[in-house]
């Protein structure tokens, strides 16, 4: 039977490792976001063609799916995370160029960027301070994501602007849910690797930014 002192020591060491995980994740996340902004700026300056979005995203996701799981526990994992986020940032170039060319385009992009930051910090702060376990949402979020991907696939053929707006709105809600889910997983032990946690949060921020940009772009057009 464990002594009270041993129980307190175990609990305190769990708190220390959770705090370390959260600190390392947010540190790496901020560095990767800065790097991503750098590669996005480069892609905008080079006026990359629209195909860049698809090619960079596919290569980045291949890295995340097949290389990251093998390297996440080593220093090489850091290189993979920067390659992944750099490619995702580079992918944004053609889309950003399209929005920047609109009247008041820079204001639109800045609003989407600021809005993404406020939503992420607000939701992550909420999950960290309330310490609620949002793991019950897992199935709901993944099924929601599949429905959205199916709707996006359908809309490639149908080309309905209202459906595109609806899909983006649902993605904003889903990514908000994923931010709560992934942040609470760090607190409650669902994830114990800061590299993996960074990639998950980065994807939430990326998708949130793209969807917010589309919503603001579509409503501005009308």
């Amino acid at each position: 039977m464990p002594t009270p002192i041993a129980t307190v020591r175990t609990a305190s060491s769990a708190v220390v490792s959770t705090n370390k995980l959260i600190r390392n994740t947010y540190l790496l996340l901020s560095m990767t976001l800065l790097f991503s902004a750098l590669t996005a700026t480069l892609s905008v300056a080079l006026r990359m063609p629209p195909m860049t979005y698809l090619v960079s995203t596919v290569v980045a996701l291949l890295l995340a799916w097949f290389v990251l799981p093998r390297t996440a526990n080593s220093a090489a994992g850091l290189g993979v995370v920067f390659a992944f986020t750099g490619l995702m940032g580079f992918a944004l170039g053609p889309m950003l160029n399209m929005y920047l060319a609109l009247p008041h385009g820079p204001q639109l992009v800045a609003t989407a960027l600021g809005g993404t930051g406020v939503i992420f910090l607000g939701l992550s702060g909420y999950a960290l301070t309330t310490r609620r376990d949002f793991s019950f949402m897992g199935g709901f979020l993944f099924v929601g994501m599949l429905v959205v991907l199916g709707a996006s696939l359908l809309n490639i053929f149908l080309q309905i602007p209202a459906m595109s707006l609806a899909t983006s709105a649902v993605v904003v809600l889903l990514m908000s849910g994923f931010i709560l889910f992934d942040t609470s997983r760090m607190v409650h032990g669902g994830v114990d690797n800061y590299i993996v946690a960074t990639v998950q949060l980065y994807m939430n921020i990326f998708n949130l930014f793209v969807s917010l940009l589309q919503i603001l772009g579509i409503t501005r057009d009308e």
């Binding site: 596919v58 406020v118 939503i119 991907l149």
Partner: protein
């Protein structure tokens, strides 16, 4: 339909096929919601909706 649309459609179809087993696993292994869990989710999501509506008014 241009090449980019066709390739995007293929990419999305592959993404759905790759995510399907993960979604099935998450559905089976997610813990059930406790009392008050959905309410605690509703509050921040409503705040997000309100904030996005505000941004739409601003641009």
């Amino acid at each position: 339909m241009d090449l980019l649309s066709i390739l995007s459609a293929i990419f999305l179809a592959i993404l759905i096929a790759l995510l399907l087993p993960r979604a099935r696993q998450m559905l089976g292994h997610s813990p059930p919601a406790q009392r008050g869990d959905w309410q605690s989710l509703l509050l921040p999501l409503l705040a997000v909706v309100g904030f996005v509506l505000l941004l739409m008014k601003l641009v």
